[in-house]
Symmetry: C2
Subunit: 647 residues, 2 copies
C-alpha cells in the first residue's frame, strides 16, 4: 500500500492510494456491491463513473455455499467480475441490524484474505449511540482484541480496523490510538450509521474529530456507512478519505432520489432537478412508464451520478482551497448540519483544525454566514495578532468598520498622510482589527465579505477588536481627531519597514523581523503595482513578498538569519542523516526522512531544513503538517527551494 | 398568448405560457442563438435540453443582407431551422455595447413582425447604472414613446417592452406602470447587465422589485441578459419568468465553465465537478486533447446543462414550496448575493413580498442562516400575532427558549397541568413567541431550526417576544412559579376551544372565531393522533383542521357564519354575474371572472365566493394573490369546494 497527500485544504486531503489492484484518488466513494444481487454491475460502474474501488460483503459470500466456493476457487475479483481494488466488509453491520451473526472473528479475516480481498475488515463490535459508556468500552476493548488477533492473519491483504466508541470522544480517541499502535492499514470510523439516520451531525463531528485525533494520520480513514452526499464535504474537511454507498440502491428500491441538498420522493417529483445522463435521457413521465425494476436501476444510477458529482466538487474545492466554503454552503441546506458546524468553535477542536489548515490558498476566503468567522484560518489570524504582532505606538487610530481592508476604501493621499503619523493604524473590519501593516496579507486582502454581515460575525469581530485595543489610547478616525493624535516621536517611521516587520513576525514568529531585517534595508517594489517585491538586507536578498498572498518567500540568506536567531526547533524541519546529501543537491524532502518538525509549522509554510545537529541545509516550503511529516511513508514533506552546497 | 399560473412559491410562479409556436413552462431560459454563427444548433438544443423557446437577434439579421433576405422570404423559424417559440431582440444591447446603432425603432419592430418572430422587442433605450436621474428619465420617456409607436405595428407578434430606469426605483416603477398601461405583452427588465457584471445584486433586486411593483402581474417578466444560474433562484423568487443565456457560449469561448456556485477557469480544473452528459463522457484530459473549437462546443453544452439544471431545481422548489430555502442556499455561495437578500428586510419590500407568499407549503420551513427569520412567512406570522391574536389572561407563562414548539419538548402530563391554568402559555422560540394555542399551525410546527441559531435570529425573536409580552405579567416557567401564577378565574378554559379560536382569528382575522364558534361546540379528534379534525357548531360542520398545516378548511356552514359576521370585502372573492351559475354548480372560478378580492387574502387562503351584490355563492381556496386575480385572463383564481345550490 502507498498513501500519499497530493493536495489539501481544511483538515482534508486529496491523496493517492494504491492497492495491489491499482491507484485510487481520495476522497472517494466505494459503491456497495451485493454479491447476491447486483443491481448495477461493477463493469457498468467502471464505465459510467470510472470507479477504481468498491466494497462488497465477505459475510454474505461466506454464508452462501455457492458464492463461498466460487470465491475461494477463483477469488473475489472473479466472483464479481471486477479487477480494480476491492474492499470487503466483515458482517459487523449485519450483526448490528440482525443481531448476533455467529461468526469467528479471525476466521472471517482469513476468509477475506483467502478470497483475495484488497482491503479486508476485522469483525469489530458495533457500538450504538444509546450504549452506556461501560458497554461501549467493553466493545472497544473487544474490537482492539480482535484487531490484535486478526492482524497476524492478514497476509498480503490490507486490514481495516474500525474505530468504535459510541458517542464517547475519549473512547473513540482511545480506540483510534490503540488500533494505530497495532499498525492497522486502514481505519473505518464505525458505528455512525444510527447518528446519520437521526441527523445527529454534531455528534457525528465529535466522533470523527475524536477518532482523527487518535489515528495515525498517514493511514486512510473511511466513514463507514456514509452514503449521502450531503455530509461528504463536512467529513472530508475533517480528514475522512473514503465513503461507501449502499444508499444508492437502498434509496432507489424505496423510490427515493438523492440530491446534493437531501432526498426527494420520486413520486412527488414533477421533473427531475438534475442534468446527469439519466435525468437528461428520461423525463419523469418516461421513468414512470418503465417497469419497476428498470426504473429502480435508473434511479440508482442517478443516485450514484449525484454522489460522485459531489466527490468531484469536493476534490476541486480541496485543490482550489474552498473546502470550508463548500462545507458551509452545504450546511445552509440543513439545519442539523448547521448545528454540526458549531462544534468546530470549541477551542480544542479549533486548535486541532488549525494545525492542518494551510498557510494560504489559491482562492479568496468567502463569507457564507455566521460560521465563517470561526474558520481555523481566522482563528489563526486572531491568535497570531495577540501572540506575534506588537503595536508600535501608544495611540491607535481606528477606521470605521468596513468590510474590506483600509486600502480599498481610503484614497492614496489619505493613506500617505496617515502613514507618516507615529500612531498605530487599525481598520475595524469584519475579520476584527486589521493593522494597516497587515492589510495585504492572506487572508485579509483576500477575503470577500458582504457589505453587511450578520450580528454574530460583527460581535465576534468587535470582541477581538476590544481586546486588541485594550492597552492603547484609541481615537476613532476623522481628520481632526488625527491632528490631536499626532504625537511626534522623532521622524515618522517608514511605513514599508513597518509592513515588512509586521508581516515577518506574523508569518515566522516574534523576533523574525529583527533577524531578517537587521542592517541596511533596500526594498524593491513592482514598478507596475507599487507593491513590495524583494527585500535586500546588507546587500543580500533575504525574502520576497508574494503578490498573491502578501506573505514572504524565504531566500537562503533570509534562512541563515532566521536560523541564527530563532532557536531550535523553531521553523525547522529536521531530516535524517541519510537524506542530507540529497537536500544539499537541492532535492526535496520526503516525509519518511523527516525526524522532527517545529510544532508551529503549518502546511505551505516557509521553513528551514536542518540536519539532526541543527546544521542548516536549505530552505523550502512545507507540504505537510508536522504530524503528517512524522508518520507518512510516502510523498514529499518539504519542497526544497534553495540549499547550501557542500563546503 | 396565454399565460397561466400553475404553481407558486415566494413571489415566484410556475406558469404555462403559449405562443403561436407552442407551450413553454416558466421559469425558463432562452438560449441566445447567433444567426451568424451557431455554436450549437437549435435542433441540438431541442434534443439535449428539450428547449421550447429561444432568443435570437433581429438586428444582426437585419444588418446582414443575406440573412435579411432569407428571413423575409421564409421566416425566422426557417432561417435558424427551429419550429418552437422564437423571441427576437432589437439591437438595444448592441447600442449599449457598440454605441449608436442607427436603427429606426418602428422599422425594427415591423421587421421582427415580418420575419414571423413570436415575441419581438421594441428598440428601448438602455439605461446604465452610472446615469444621472435626469438622463435616465429621458431614456425612460423615450422608451415609453417608442413602445407607444411600436405597439400598433406588432400585428400577430407578441411585443416585449423592456422596463428601463437605471438604478432609480421610482423610474423603474413608473416605466413599468406606463408600459403596462400600453398593454405590452411581455416585459423584459432591461439595463441590468452592468449590475450583474459588477455583482451589484442588491441593486439588481431593487430594480426587479420596483419593476414588478409597477408591472401588470399577468404578463411574463424576463430578466434581460441574466445567464448565470447563480442568480436565477433569486430572480424567480421575485417573480421573474424568463432568462436568456448568451453566457453559455461567451464563457465557453473564454475557457470559462459555469457552475451553480459561480464560474471556474477550464485551465485551472483538474477534473470537472459535474455529472452532466458532457462531464460524464469526457475527462479534463480528454477535453484538453480536443481541438479548440470542439472543446468550446463541449464547454458550451456543459454550461447549458448546468443552467437548465438550475431551472429544473427552481421549478421543483417552486412546486414543493422551498424556493426561499433555495435562494438562501445560493446566497451562501456568494457574499454579494448575501447582501442582496438584506434588501428584502426593508418593510415596504417585505409587505410586497408577503402579498404573494402562499398561506402554507408542502415542505417544512428550513432555517438556512440569518436571512431566514426575515422571510415573508415569518413576517406575516409576527404581524398577525399583533393584529389578530389576543392574549386571554393577565398572566403569561413563558417557557425557556427552544428551537421547537412546546409540544416537542414537554411531557404530556406537564401539558395537561398547564392547559388547565388560566394563564397565557407562550414558548420562547426561534420564531419569536409561540402561544401554545398556535403551536400546530403553519409554519410553527413545520419549521426546522438548528438547536443553536445565529445571534441575529435570536435577537429578532427576542425583540418580537418583548413586544408581545409588553402588556402582561410575565412568569418564566418552572413548576413553583406556576403555582404563584395561578389566579383562578372560575373554571379553567377548555384548551381545545382556546386553540380553535386562536387559529381561526390568525387565519381569518379577528372576530372569525366568534362568528364560527358561537353555539354548542363539538370537537371531533383523530382517534389515532388525538389531534383536532372537525368542528361541529350547533350541529353544523363549520371547519376542519388540516393535519399537515394545522389550519382550517372552511365548510359551507362555516362560510355562511363568516359571511354574516365579517363585513365586505373581508374574505371575499367577488365574481362577475356571468359566472354566477357556474359557481353555483360547484365549478371553480377563473381569474377573468373575478371583479374584486379582499386585499388581505393570500394564495391558498380559504375564501368566500360572492356575487357583485355580496350574495354568498360558495366557499373555496384561492390560488392567486388579489393582484393576479384582477389581471390574469387565464387560469383558475379560486378552487371552489362547496357551493350554495339555487333556491
Amino acid at each position: 500500500m502507498t498513501f500519499e497527500i497530493k493536495e489539501r485544504d481544511a483538515a482534508g486531503r486529496l491523496c493517492q492510494f494504491t492497492t495491489k489492484h491499482g491507484k485510487v484518488t481520495t476522497p472517494n466513494l466505494l459503491p456497495v456491491i451485493n454479491p447476491n444481487k447486483m443491481m448495477i454491475t461493477p463493469k457498468e460502474m467502471k464505465k459510467r463513473f470510472g470507479i477504481d474501488i468498491l466494497i462488497t460483503n465477505s459475510y454474505i459470500i461466506y454464508k452462501n455455499p455457492e458464492l463461498k466456493k466460487q470465491a475461494l476457487e477463483s477469488g473475489v475479483h472473479a466472483l464479481i467480475d471486477y479487477n480494480g481494488s476491492i474492499m470487503t466488509d466483515s458482517g459487523t453491520f449485519q450483526s448490528y441490524v440482525y443481531g448476533d451473526v455467529k461468526l469467528d472473528p479471525v476466521e472471517i479475516v482469513q476468509f477475506q484474505r483467502d478470497i483475495g480481498s484488497d482491503i479486508g475488515t476485522i469483525l469489530d463490535v458495533f457500538g450504538t449511540p444509546d450504549q452506556s459508556k461501560a458497554t461501549s468500552e467493553q466493545g472497544v476493548q473487544e474490537t482492539i482484541e480482535r484487531a490484535r488477533k486478526s492482524i497476524p492473519q492478514k497476509g498480503e491483504m490490507l486490514l481495516a480496523c474500525p474505530v468504535q466508541g459510541s458517542v464517547y470522544p475519549d473512547l473513540r480517541e482511545y480506540c483510534a490510538r490503540q488500533l494505530s499502535a497495532l499498525s492497522a492499514d486502514f481505519f473505518p470510523i464505525g458505528g455512525v450509521v444510527p447518528l446519520m439516520e437521526d441527523q445527529r451531525y454534531g455528534d457525528l463531528v465529535r466522533c470523527i474529530l475524536a477518532a482523527k485525533q487518535g489515528l495515525d494520520p498517514s493511514k486512510p480513514v473511511h466513514l463507514f456507512g456514509a452514503g449521502h452526499p450531503l455530509i461528504f464535504s463536512l467529513a472530508v474537511a475533517l480528514g475522512c478519505d473514503f465513503f461507501d454507498s449502499s444508499a444508492y440502491a437502498k434509496y432507489a428500491n424505496d423510490g427515493r432520489v438523492i440530491f446534493q441538498w437531501g432526498t426527494e420522493k420520486f413520486d412527488d417529483l414533477k421533473e427531475l432537478p438534475c442534468s446527469c445522463p439519466i435525468c437528461s435521457k428520461y423525463s419523469v413521465t418516461e421513468l414512470k412508464e418503465l417497469d419497476v425494476e428498470e426504473r429502480t436501476i435508473q434511479l440508482a444510477l442517478h443516485n450514484l451520478y449525484v454522489s460522485f458529482m459531489e466527490l468531484k466538487i469536493i476534490r476541486v474545492a480541496l485543490s482550489e482551497g474552498w473546502l470550508w466554503e463548500l462545507v458551509e454552503q452545504r450546511a445552509s441546506a440543513n439545519p442539523f448540519l448547521s448545528d454540526a458546524l458549531r462544534v468546530f468553535r470549541e477551542p480544542a477542536h479549533l486548535q486541532w483544525l488549525e494545525q492542518y489548515e494551510p498557510t494560504s490558498n489559491k482562492t479568496a476566503l468567502f463569507y457564507t454566514g455566521p460560521h465563517t468567522i470561526y474558520r481555523p484560518m481566522i482563528f489563526r489570524y486572531h491568535t497570531r495578532l495577540f501572540t506575534r504582532f506588537e503595536p508600535l505606538f501608544h495611540t491607535t487610530v481606528v477606521f470605521p468598520e468596513r468590510t474590506k481592508p483600509y486600502s480599498m476604501f481610503y484614497s492614496k493621499e489619505m493613506k500617505n498622510i496617515l502613514k507618516q503619523k507615529n500612531v498605530n493604524l487599525v481598520v475595524s473590519s469584519t475579520l476584527g482589527p486589521i493593522p494597516l501593516e497587515l492589510d495585504e496579507m492572506y487572508p485579509l486582502a483576500q477575503s470577500v465579505f458582504p457589505m453587511c454581515v450578520d450580528q454574530e460575525t460583527k460581535e465576534k469581530a468587535q470582541q477581538v477588536m476590544s481586546r486588541f485595543l485594550r492597552d492603547t489610547e484609541v481615537i476613532v478616525w476623522d481628520e481632526h481627531a488625527l491632528i490631536t493624535a499626532e504625537k511626534p516621536l522623532g521622524s515618522p517611521m517608514d511605513f514599508d519597514l513597518r509592513r515588512i516587520s509586521a508581516v515577518a513576525d506574523m508569518q515566522f514568529g516574534r523576533g523574525a523581523s529583527e533577524a531578517l531585517f537587521a542592517g541596511r534595508i533596500n526594498i524593491i517594489k513592482s514598478t507596475r503595482t507599487g507593491k513590495i517585491r524583494n527585500i535586500i538586507c546588507d546587500g543580500f536578498h533575504v525574502v520576497s513578498m508574494r503578490a498573491e498572498d502578501g506573505l514572504f518567500t524565504l531566500k537562503i540568506n533570509g534562512g541563515r538569519r532566521l536560523h541564527k536567531r530563532m532557536k531550535y526547533p523553531l521553523l525547522r524541519v529536521v531530516v535524517t542523516d541519510d537524506t542530507v546529501p540529497f537536500v544539499k543537491e537541492g532535492k526535496s524532502v520526503f516525509a519518511k526522512f523527516v525526524s522532527e518538525c517545529d510544532p508551529d509549522l503549518r502546511p505551505f509554510d516557509e521553513c528551514l531544513i536542518v540536519d539532526e545537529h541543527d546544521m542548516l541545509l536549505g530552505i523550502g516550503r512545507t507540504l505537510l503538517a508536522r504530524n503528517e511529516m512524522l508518520t507518512f511513508r510516502h510523498g514529499m514533506a518539504v519542497k526544497t527551494r534553495e540549499s547550501i552546497k557542500e563546503g
